[in-house]
Amino acid sequence: MRSQVFEVARRSILQTLRQPALVIPPIVFPLIMMAINTGGLHAATNLPGFPADTYLDFAIAVPFMQCSLFACINAGAALARDVETGFLKRLAMTPMQRAALLIGHLGGVMVVSFVSALIYVAVGFAAGMDFHAGFWGVPALLVLAMLIALAFAALGAFVGLRSGSGETVQGFFPLFFVLLFLSSMSLPRPLIEQDWFRFIATYNPVSYLIEGIRSFIITGWDAEALALGFGIAIAVAAAAVIAASGALRTRLVRT
């Protein structure tokens, strides 16, 4: 099964690398957004209770989330395309194990997400990020970022397999983006003035994923933030992988 996983992952990576539109936006777009926000929202650091000295330290967590959204769309769209073109039927004709397809595919998407995460970290340090969690905080942050990417990629895989339609997967992008904006992406939850916004951000799991990543940078090893971040990422990833496995089982019907 290992060689099956490797080959499926290899295909997934090649697919992504051969479509620049799937590589460049997930890396460049979040960095541009971050640069704009860092410049434009610097004044927010003057708010009483703002937890960071620079808006860069606060905002650098967001690109990891945006990258996960792209992982979601890429994973879902690729699997939907396999359904649409009949490629999945070809795979079903082989002795390949279902798990190999899902693990390999998600693995390929994760490799691309990992490279993107490394770039964000490098850009952050180059731009003067004040990283409080020390040397071991970097790999820990990358692990959390990968868990989040896995959760969203598996969600995308579920939608792609269930619908078998690339358009449907693309249709989910705005929904996920709204979830991102209605979180503590731009301001810490206690500083959100509008009650309805603060309420949504408090019950939006995306807030805790962002705050988990952010805690490595602005706080150091914050047990509560990390427990919530890792806990939600693991729970969503597990649920999404189970859902995607079920959708794959339905889609890969064979006697």
């Binding site: 080959e7 499926v8 009949g86 079903a92 390949m96």
Partner: protein, 328 residues
Amino acid sequence: MTILPNGIEVEDLAREFKGGVRAVDGIDLTVEPGEIYGFLGPNGAGKSTTVLMLTTLLPPSSGTARVAGHDIVREGPEVRRAIGAALQEAALDPLLTGREHMRLQTTLQGVPKAERGTRGDALLERVGLMEAADRKVRGYSGGMKRRLDLALALVHHPRILFLDEPTTGLDPQSRADMWQEVARLAHEDGVTVFLTTQYLEEADVLADRIAIIDHGTIVARGTPDELKAEIGRPTLEVEPAVREELEAVTGVLARFGTPVTARPGATAVRLHGNVDQLADVVRALDGENLTVTDFRLHAPTLDDVFLAKTGRKLEGGEPAAEPEAVSA
């Protein structure tokens, strides 16, 4: 049911979809090892549904089938190990090269690592894609995609090959190349081929035996010659050199067959016997000093068979072959 290790035995196989539509409605057929079995029918007749069931990708609603000696419902993995399939659309990844497809397929089919490269290259060479092996599939022509699809179906040396409309949309040269390769697989390598097609000519040229399916049921089966013989004898159409001799020529032809409608200026009969009568007809016309400018033999075609069995022409089929012209 006799178990054919490289064959296919189907008994009362049916598949019903939502809404009660019976795409396949209780078919029986037997495919002998090593033969090319043509499964002929128009779009929506039930060909692809049959293939999906026989390749274990769609459970039947009722009936049984054994492929390579294995039950398609209870022994799916064993069936899949024994078969290769190129389904209706060439299911390829446009972003991968031909060689990368072979690498993926050999791995997923469990070909030992040391053999993957050589086996993939050998198959690419066999289907004439070696030069294009490192090009992305999105740049391939329709014929190249079909040939790669065929090569992918062969990586694990299947004993039975399912080809679902393998030449649909191909130009005549690509179609001829595909026919040659399929014939070679059956006749040289002993692979049993189950071929669905909506092209009458394809079934006629390639298949050892044919079944015609329409509305989910098999309406005719046999060798192409048997099927043609079943529906009628050849027709002979003759045009005299001198129009005034039309009646005399008609009289001569009437000795050899039953008069049938002919084009203006010509006369025609459905021969009592077969084409062996032609020499006698020529001698009889010569004996009466009658000269002719056109002498045409219309052999029955599978199109005639399809028309006779279903009451309509095969949609999407090739136009009937031009009648054979013989100068007298």
